[in-house]
């Protein structure tokens, strides 16, 4: 005779709990963490490298790179002179809290203001796994097409900022910006959006300035919380 036991637990609650611990560790180190997500080939790494250049001497930064099986991306960040850790997910389609927790241990947490975490290129899976970041940012590139918000609603709903990358390709590609933006607006009303080209540098200063002000504001709130 079987008995039914109520559980009502989120399937990924164990991951969520560890993500909360990671976030508290970032908080106590005074580090703002950004989780950058995108499809493969959207230009995440190029965008991040350019962002690191734009933020040089303004914020002390570290990088956690998620990838299936190489260290090409972390090597690029190290070339730029920044502390970087590579997580090879060994075929997993997303970063999870356990992976980020172990990567954190390799970063000089006492000397950083900002940690940029590059997630695995994928518009479906990463959004379900919290990793302790303060902000989720999505990079959507023009060549992917204007229908992506409609096809991957989860990715667009779960983010706090959107970068529209490769805008230098607009003249060559059929991309209806109004249709794209309508989809974004439905899923995530009022989402902060930065159209830019990491290649030409157009628009990079806006996202860089915005991030600096975000981090400063966050740090001052953190300080207020400690005092009160």
């Amino acid at each position: 005779m079987s008995t039914r036991i109520q559980v009502i637990e989120k399937i990924l609650s164990a991951n969520d709990e560890l993500a909360e611990i990671i976030r508290q560790q970032f908080d106590s180190a005074g580090i703002y963490a950004i989780n950058i997500m995108a499809s493969p080939g959207a230009g995440k790494t190029t965008f991040i490298i350019k962002l690191l250049e734009a933020l040089h001497n303004r914020l002390r930064m570290g990088v956690i790179e998620g990838d299936l099986a190489s260290s090409i991306d972390a090597d690029k960040a190290k070339e730029a002179g920044l502390p970087a850790v590579q997580i090879n997910t060994g075929g997993e389609c997303h970063l999870d809290a356990v992976m980020v927790a172990s990567a954190m241990a390799s970063l000089p947490l006492d000397n950083l203001d900002l940690v940029i975490i590059e997630n695995v290129g994928n518009l479906v899976c990463p959004i379900n796994f919290k990793i302790g970041s303060h902000m989720n940012m999505l990079v959507a590139s023009i060549p992917e097409g204007d229908d992506k918000p409609y096809k991957y609603p989860g990715a667009y709903r779960g983010v706090d900022a959107l970068v529209i990358s490769k805008i230098d390709l607009i003249p060559y590609i059929t991309f209806n910006m109004d249709y794209f933006r309508k989809g974004v607006e439905i899923l995530n009303p009022g989402l902060v959006t930065f159209p830019l080209s990491a290649k030409t540098g157009e628009g990079m200063e806006f996202v860089a300035d915005w991030l600096v002000s975000k981090v400063i504001e966050w740090k001052s709130n953190l300080l207020d919380d400690h005092i009160s």
Partner: protein, 113 residues
């Protein structure tokens, strides 16, 4: 897809709850999964059959209840089930809509002996 990680979490939640009541066998797992949750039922079942081996959950039946995507219009307030890819409100055409249901991923209950 991340069904393996999801299935591992389902197994550990089921085993943990079964242990609390000293269950000898888990016969069923009842899941609530939203239509927007990007999970494939067959894929969860596939992994389940492999990873539950050697546990008291082996052979448990996975019952997956799908929760349809439901939205509310901010402008006219009606609740609706979107059937177009654009999610517009069917009553007033507004695009200011909010997702109410559809991204759930929960273990609702387990059946034990």
């Amino acid at each position: 897809m991340h069904e393996l990680a999801v299935t591992q979490s389902i197994l550990s939640i089921a085993l943990e709850n079964a242990r609390k009541v000293d269950a000898k066998q888990i016969t069923g797992i009842n899941l609530l999964i939203g239509q927007m949750a990007s999970l494939v039922d067959d894929s969860i079942q596939f992994y389940w059959d492999i990873i539950s081996e050697g546990t008291i959950a082996l052979g448990a039946k996975l019952n997956i209840e799908r929760i349809p995507t439901e939205m509310r219009c901010y402008d006219c307030g009606i609740l609706f089930f979107p059937n177009s890819e654009t999610f517009d409100c069917p009553a007033c055409g507004s695009i200011r809509v909010q997702v109410i249901h559809g991204d759930e991923m929960r273990v609702d209950s387990i059946d034990v002996e």
